[in-house]
Symmetry: C2
Subunit: 223 residues, 2 copies
Amino acid sequence: MSRIQTQQKILDAAESLFAETGFNDTSLRQITSRAEVNLAAVNYHFGSKKALIQAVLQRYLKVVMPRLEHQFEVLLARQKPTQLPEVLAVFVQPLLELEQIKRQGTTLFLQLLGRGYTDVQGHLRKFISHHYGSVLNKFVLLVQQSCPGLDAAEIFWRLHFSLGTVVFTMASSEALFDIAAADYQQQADIESVIRRLLPYLAAGIAAPVIYPEQLNSMAQAAS
Amino acid sequence: MSRIQTQQKILDAAESLFAETGFNDTSLRQITSRAEVNLAAVNYHFGSKKALIQAVLQRYLKVVMPRLEHQFEVLLARQKPTQLPEVLAVFVQPLLELEQIKRQGTTLFLQLLGRGYTDVQGHLRKFISHHYGSVLNKFVLLVQQSCPGLDAAEIFWRLHFSLGTVVFTMASSEALFDIAAADYQQQADIESVIRRLLPYLAAGIAAPVIYPEQLNSMAQAAS
DNA sequence: CCTCATTTCAAACGACCGTTTGAAATGTAC
DNA sequence: GTACATTTCAAACGGTCGTTTGAAATGAGG
């Protein structure tokens, strides 16, 4: 069998299992079993499990990130600052195009992203900020321009809140899909969730700042 | 040594390790080593690792949940529906009071909550909704009353988005604290994060609904 | 002090993990 | 068809895991 076929089969099996069970809880024996290759093939072709995880993520990142970067550059080249919802909408098209590369591609990638941020705490964050730091910087710059009332620290926190929203939703998307379908008779696909996410994120990021005194009065008013 | 002392030492060691490394990645040998008790003590006193995890969570849930339920009942007894920020502010006091029960109690509990939702997918959700379903129902009812423009399905999704925000932020709170302190010279304590969270969540939950057509036009405008 | 239940302890169990090994199989160029 | 490099394969390695075991230590009551 050609090298490429085996590597592909391993990557396909690994990404689906990683998305289902997480990185730490998926064993190489499960992966090679689903891929119908020998156990030693992973270490032969990728070197280690850690390298396999990176390869699985890279397959999507190397497609999504350049497209995002290009879109951000277009918006930054404008004369007037872009509105926040429009900045966030940049993510929609590149993410949905992953569906064409591979069936369920969008869902898989976002689930992997979620797993990567929650499973192996810190690794994925460093990996992305190291390899794609310029993309992230351009995005942050756009958000800052669209929200002139927020200082850099507030934006830092709110973007991480938003990352949490996306990552958690996607990591537990299967369970949420099931509940939504059972309780609310909803179509449960990734695109409709993204549609629901954007207004939530836009409103959260651009929310008015509340100062400590108001928080205290709120807490007391509720008691 | 008395039974209670040993159980307490195990619970203390387990909760700190669970918060740091997650449930799956924390071994009983690490726990019993930090607690300075014999390896077999966990299985003797708690039965299994799974039961230990539940015991660790229950120590906080049994304190927090009744207080939340009481606050929700007070708000539900009012004549007029409560404003959303006030509903969310209910969480502040009971959570911060965990700090008095135990140093770092609030942080530990919220980290454990985050770990529980991301590590052992689904288990914690079922456990909480089974034991404390009435509390959750009252909270959802309050949110529905405060947001009459949103249907039940939209609220379902937005509350899970919010759960993701909180859970992810707390699970990765150590890393975020470090970055915030290094890059923005900020005080990095749990209370200031909660302060930042509330306006974000309130705005996100109460955000205006955007319909598909608007989303598409947004995505096209950005390209 | 003796009795008996409770708790602690060292040791081992079987299972699964990621990785390595060296031979067998397969592919490739002459 | 022979020589050589690449890929596959079964088997084993050392290690960690949660759990169990049976004896030793400790506790409390008569």
